[in-house]
């Protein structure tokens, strides 16, 4: 039996000079247990796993960081600057993350609004410039605005990460046209980050031709996170394959798929 890898060839996903096997990246937050966290990451097939930088809890010094559960030799740890509301804070968190000693990558978030968690694109651009100059590989979380995406690429971002819909909303891909436009105009990889709720969302995102997708809550808050992670893996591969296959044109009339000739 042929597998999908035999029937279509894809170029590898390369970000900042590093090649990744899977186009699905996953977050490590909001999981109900560390066991479910590890099992669902396993099931997702992702090789990039995002983590956050936070203070250690001094009153419960026996509490463990996520590194006690995620083997850094097995997964590529992508630190984020989640929760930062200014360029200055995001830069500080990025520097702390790099000092942990794993890699130069940072998923840069500068949040502009508590209610929607939408990005502050001015702060994002400012932080991108500073961090790129310091040698970071910046993956910039942004909205689905083409001009911001272009400016981020100009500023040296190694990947641009437009949202599908707000973080944790599960609303799916609200603006496929804008995401497609961004993909068509940028040279650096476009990774859609945030907002997918279920497998069809992930598939639809990948069908836009973007290079990858990053998700967290859709897996962590599923009734069965391990099964959902598996579904997301298939959906990501499926959407990618469908994009590469090239869909048929949409028509507003029916076209019979069985021959009209030879009828009795």
């Amino acid at each position: 039996m042929q597998t999908t890898t035999d029937v279509f060839t894809d170029t590898p996903l390369v970000i900042g000079g590093r090649t990744f096997r899977s186009r699905l990246m996953v977050g490590s937050g909001r999981h109900r247990s560390n066991e479910l966290l590890v099992r669902s990451i396993d099931a997702s097939g992702a090789d990039v796993v995002t983590v956050a930088v936070r203070r250690v809890d001094l009153d419960r010094t026996k509490s463990e960081g996520v590194l006690y559960h995620l083997d850094p030799s097995r997964w590529f740890l992508l630190a984020n600057t989640a929760g930062c509301y200014t360029a200055e804070d995001a830069i500080r968190y990025a520097r702390l993350a790099r000092a942990a000693g794993f890699n130069e990558f940072i998923k840069l978030e500068v949040i502009g609004d508590e209610k929607t968690l939408l990005p502050d694109t001015a702060g994002l651009l400012e932080a991108t410039k500073v961090l790129v100059k310091e040698g970071f590989v910046v993956m910039a979380y942004t909205n689905e605005d083409l001009i911001t995406a272009l400016r981020l690429e100009d500023a040296g971002a190694a990947a641009v990460m437009p949202l599908a819909s707000p973080i944790g909303s599960g609303l799916g891909l609200l603006n496929p046209y804008h995401v497609r436009t961004i993909k068509s105009r940028l040279t650096v990889p476009v990774i859609v980050d945030a907002g997918v709720g279920t497998a069809s969302d992930a598939c639809l995102v990948m069908e836009q031709g973007v290079d990858g997708i990053l998700m967290n809550t859709a897996i962590a808050e599923a009734r069965d996170p391990v099964a959902m992670a598996h579904a997301m893996k298939l959906a990501t591969e499926s959407g990618r394959a469908a994009y590469l296959a090239g869909r048929m044109p949409k028509r507003e009339i029916a076209v019979p798929s069985s021959p009209t000739q030879g009828m009795l």
Binding site: S28, V51, A52, T61, N80, A82
Partner: protein, 264 residues
């Protein structure tokens, strides 16, 4: 634990002291003189569990360590567990009393290989009327980075030598319980302990007392934090791991200690 949160003068009991009676009354007089610097270490081989529990309960308001019995420490609300030679391993004591500070006895350098929060090192000056292990045992214990309490023939006249060798505090039986005026003995001990051994710092936004001129490596050890799993920012400057042993804290310093947690 940070050394500065550990009492510096310990009145240890033995069976003889307990048999003499009025332990709680005498302890209270000494605690009034020693305040936050003073603690009682309850050691007994003769008391029943119930009698030990009753005695610990009579010491309400005084800082107390229970020797060998994490269960009684937990039940009596004692903050410290003293781990003698025949006691359960540190990990087992912690399982029983997770919030207790475990102070392990170290009779020789080999016993410093324990994951305790602090060490009770001795006998230093005198053992059963003969010579003790000497100041070298304090020096070896201080190298672990954990706070060290010196015991064994310690008096107000030799306490300063123990501190000079690296001890954070001292413990005594006869020099306190058998003193003609125990509160006066407490004051004499505390005067002999060099002052200003602690500084005020802010760690992760919390005001803390810390051992003066401790290195960051020692501070992490006192907090039971693995230097490989955290990143330290010292007065807004990230400290590379190789520098942790060289950087020292000072009055008013601000420290942030962060690690990776789950995040999207």
């Amino acid at each position: 634990m940070i050394a500065a949160a550990l009492p510096r003068l310990w009145a240890l009991t033995d069976d003889r002291v307990i048999a003499e009676g009025r332990v709680a009354d005498r302890a209270r007089l000494m605690a009034d003189a020693g305040r936050a610097e003073f603690a009682v270490g309850l050691r007994s081989t003769a008391l029943t569990d119930r009698a030990l529990m009753a005695l610990a309960s009579q010491l309400g308001g005084i800082q107390v360590g229970i020797s060998g019995r994490a269960d009684i420490a937990r039940a009596a609300g004692a903050a410290f567990v003293l781990k003698g030679r025949g006691a359960l391993p540190v990990a087992d004591l912690r399982n029983v009393a997770p919030s207790a500070v475990v102070i392990a006895s170290a009779h020789d350098a080999a016993e410093l290989d324990q994951d305790a929060d602090a060490f009770l090192a001795g006998a230093i000056f005198e053992k059963d009327g003969g010579p003790g292990a000497g100041l070298g045992l304090i020096e070896a214990a201080a190298k672990t980075g954990k706070p060290v309490i010196a015991v064994g023939g310690v008096t107000p006249s030799n306490a300063a030598r123990a501190i000079a060798a690296g001890a954070w505090g001292v413990a005594a039986i006869r020099a306190l319980w058998d003193a003609a005026d125990p509160p006066a003995a407490v004051r004499a001990f505390l005067q002999a302990l060099p002052a200003a051994a602690a500084v005020s710092v802010t760690i992760n936004g919390q005001p803390k007392r810390a051992t003066a001129s401790a290195t960051l490596e020692q501070l992490l050890a006192q907090l039971s934090l693995d230097p490989r799993a955290v990143v330290v920012e010292h007065n807004r400057e990230i400290v590379r791991r190789e520098q942790l042993a060289a950087r020292r804290i000072a009055e008013g310093d601000a420290l942030e200690i962060v690690h990776f947690v789950g995040g999207g």
